[in-house]
């Protein structure tokens, strides 16, 4: 069963994504240029015919494949694994042992290894993904060491430190050849498979989701993304591909020992090639490998044993220099420029922008209860941030929440969007008489509660349109329709002229609108707006008020936290006032502003007395 899962994840992705005109993609200059350059990996060694050159190219293909597979986790998902050789070793040992004990061809054995690696990847990834940067890296090193030591300890199975020799039976069935060029064909095939999977992920929803989770996990959850789920998908695919390459490489070297199969140094090298080429880019890992491996192999070839340590020294020095001078890697730094040159070549590239899919129809009678909270209480140590808050939200209304700074408004939002679990009390989404309480922030988003963040949470390295697409993907998994939806939303909020600008370059007013846009793109039933007017000019505030009204008129129910009194009073159908975590007043805007407790909360008791209230 596990075998089934792994092969599915490794191969299903490209099929699902390449759906619109798979062959026409070949006429795109970037695609055919990449394929021509790739084919050099076969043509150069074929022309040279020297076994040493072929060996170097097999090594390049293997390491480029390993690095490309690593990049899916280390680059796209931003999880710096320094123990990736675990999967290489598992693939290698599984394949070799299946040949030895069951006479199973490596062509099948490698898939068994990939399946096992995928299972191990889930077991390592699930508990470790909550760890931050260096600690995740350390944990992966620890797993690598544990498995290496176990491989040495159980020498009855693995041959221990003495090693294991792959049974040498010639022919394609057994993946052992006299003509080295056959190895190169397989290595190249595996590299191509890995690149296609990596490319497909990059250009599919999963790729966008991984970037979103890497940049800001909270904002990703608010867009309905389960961070653990997408990271697990990435690590499973990456582990399976790494394992396949490990299986092949074992057949190529014909000798397995724990020290090289589960090597920390090699794990670091794989990651290093990606960094040099460009983390999180499709072609970066390949480029890094092509540049560095031949130098190291050539040094080893010319200097022999006297070069002991030289290639590692060069690797390490290059790694430090790259971090100091080109942290984006080669593709990250120069990729855009080269891409523009390539785009000047002839070929079909413009695809018609697809029509945006129809807006989701929101059904239900106005005035019915949509959301209710019962005695919501949130304690932070000794502080009661919300104190017995019971409220309900009616379909079609705009509910304003006001209160002094520190009153607990945002804490309330965090609870009704699933980011905080209340210390006591409950809340429920009501739909068709059924009450449900989702279990996580992303589940709240998928249940139709969209929220913005008071402190804006843009995905800084993504463009405006990509930021909005992250939200749109929730209901439109297909990239083209998500893009169309995002374009529509960008026009609605007035960001359409900034679509291709990276979000980190936007001023605060535009970032606030981007928050709203990303949330609107999830097509929520209930929209939670946390101080979206702060930092907006007078004119923009007016536009925002109109936008919120238009959104409400399309059937969305709105709760807005706001300090801009004029705006919130004119906008809201009903107002709730919170002070020190408690609801102190509730009602229509006119009544609330005259309430003595409200005036006291905002302006103090003295002022209330002076006004004779």
């Amino acid at each position: 069963m596990s075998h089934h899962t792994a092969s599915q994840t490794a191969t299903a992705a490209p099929v699902a994504i390449a759906r619109p005109s798979r062959l026409s993609a070949l006429t795109h200059p970037r695609v055919y240029v990449a394929l021509i350059l790739l084919s050099l990996l076969l043509i150069i060694p074929a022309m040279s015919g020297s076994p040493f050159v072929i060996h170097v190219f097999v090594t390049i293909c293997v390491f480029a494949g390993l690095s490309t597979a690593w990049n899916i986790v280390g680059g796209y998902a931003g999880q710096l694994s320094l123990g990736h050789m675990v999967f290489y070793g598992i693939g290698a040992y599984t394949t070799a042992l299946l040949i030895q004990h069951f006479g199973l061809t490596p062509w099948i054995g490698m898939w068994a290894g990939a399946a096992l690696s995928a299972v191990v990847a889930v077991c390592i990834g699930f508990p470790c993904f909550r760890l931050r940067g260096p600690f995740f890296a350390l944990a992966t090193i620890a797993f690598l060491e544990v498995i290496r030591l176990l491989a040495i300890h159980f020498h009855g199975v693995t041959g221990g430190s003495a090693g294991l020799i792959v049974p040498l039976k010639l022919g394609w069935t057994w993946m052992i050849f006299q003509d080295k060029f056959n190895y190169l064909i397989i290595a190249f095939g595996l590299l191509l498979l890995t690149l296609i999977v990596s490319w497909a992920i990059r250009n599919a929803r999963l790729g966008y989701y991984l970037t979103a989770v890497r940049e800001r996990e909270d904002a990703a959850s608010a867009a309905g993304i389960s961070p653990t789920e997408v990271k697990l998908k990435a690590v499973v695919v990456s582990a399976a591909l790494t394992s396949l390459i490990g299986s092949f490489h074992a057949m190529y070297t014909t000798f397995l020992e724990p020290a090289t199969m589960f090597s920390l140094a090699t794990s670091i090298e794989i990651a290093m090639f990606s960094l040099i080429g460009g983390l999180g880019t499709v072609l970066g890992p390949l480029l890094g490998t092509v540049l560095v491996v031949p130098i190291a192999e050539a040094a080893r070839g010319w200097l022999g044993a006297s070069a002991n340590g030289l290639h590692g020294f060069v690797y390490g020095t290059v790694l430090v220099l790259i971090t100091l001078t080109l942290p984006g890697g080669l593709v990250g730094t120069f990729g855009a420029t080269v891409g523009r040159w390539v785009d000047r070549l002839p070929g079909g590239r413009s695809r018609p922008e697809p029509e945006a899919p129809a807006l989701r129809q929101i059904t239900g009678a106005a005035g019915e209860t949509m959301l209710l909270t019962r005695n919501l209480t949130m304690r932070f140590g000794g502080l009661l941030a919300t104190d017995n808050v019971s409220m309900l939200l009616k379909r079609g209304e705009i509910l304003g929440i006001i209160g002094p700074n520190g009153a607990g408004k945002t804490t309330l939002f965090n609870q009704i969007s699933g980011f905080l679990k209340p210390s006591s009390g409950s809340l429920a989404i009501v739909s068709g008489g059924q009450e449900t309480t989702p279990s996580s922030a992303d589940a709240f988003a998928r249940a139709g509660i969209g929220r913005t963040f008071q402190i804006v949470q843009p995905f800084g390295k993504l463009t405006v349109i990509e930021n909005i697409m992250i939200g749109a993907f929730m209901r439109h998994p297909d990239v083209a329709s998500a893009r169309a939806v995002a374009l529509r939303v960008s026009t609605l909020v007035g960001l359409h002229q900034l679509c291709e600008v990276e979000a980190r370059n936007l001023p605060i007013g535009d970032l606030k609108r981007l928050e709203v846009a990303r949330t609107l793109a999830t097509e929520p039933d209930i929209l939670l707006l946390d101080e979206v007017m702060a930092g907006q000019s007078q004119a923009d505030t007016q536009k925002m008020v109109e936008l919120i009204r238009a959104v409400r008129d399309s059937g969305v129910t709105v709760i807005a936290i706001e300090h801009n009194m004029q705006a919130i009073m004119s906008l809201s159908d009903r107002i709730i006032v919170i002070d020190s975590g408690k609801v102190i007043a509730e009602g229509d805007p006119q009544a609330v502003v005259r309430d003595r407790r409200v005036i006291e909360a905002y302006l103090g008791e003295d002022f209330a007395n002076a006004q004779g209230l």
Binding site: R130, L131, R132, F135, M272, L275, N308, G316, L319, L324
Partner: protein, 290 residues
Amino acid sequence: MDVLVQLLLNGIMLGSMYAIIAVGLTLIFGIVRVVNFAHGEFLMIGMYATYLLATKLGWHPYVSAVPVVLLLFCIGALVQRFIIQKLLNADEHIQIFATVGLSTALVNLALMIFGADLYSVSAPSARQSVPLGGYTVLSGQLVILACALALVAGLHLFMQRTPLGRAIRATAQNRNAALLMGVRVDRIYIISFGLGAACVGLASALVTPLFPVTPTIGSYFVLTAFVVVVLGGMRSMYGAFLGAMIIGIVDSLSGYYIAPDLKEVVYFAIFILILIFKPTGLFGFGRGTE
């Protein structure tokens, strides 16, 4: 019972060696907030330096401790000044890669210079058996224990009683606030990194009589030191000290009761469990997921 007591003693002796390394690692992580993956290679450099001083000049390793500590302080300060300082605002993965790269470069540099052979320093005075109420320890191990205690006590006094120590603690707690109060944070970082490396310098001089030096000796010790640091709660040197004792004892006991080649598996398993279930460390001194 006799065996158990002897094993516990061995564990404490081993633990005090890890303690010195781990305290240095904790200083760097707690103050500069960088995980120094090259820490083990600092140890390796110190051990080769001690070896060279012993063979070329005939210095006893304990005498070499002084110049080696100074050498490592300088290396640490230079690494901070010319590498880490430039990356303080870079992405976390870039910082990781920088120290990982440094580690790789140093291991291989040692391999180029010294080859893969084992070198050991003969210092009989450090290998004498000292009877201790029916049990025995090596004199060199007692020295390490004494130095570990003195190091933690000395650093405690330094951090609590001196203006520089206070500035370091302030920087560790809140870099920006310290900056606003006129603390020269860059300089504090250089000193802290130097101090962390100097601890390893001390450790390297002390362990050279007991362990042969190879280019990869660093990763052998430092992976354990990372386990210790995580166990001790990342930022507390007292936590690191206690954590080191625990790991020393676990090492000693599991080597005897489980299997000598599986003792690392035992404490790496502890490491992973602590990281996952109690990232603040055993004693709740810090936070690993922060």
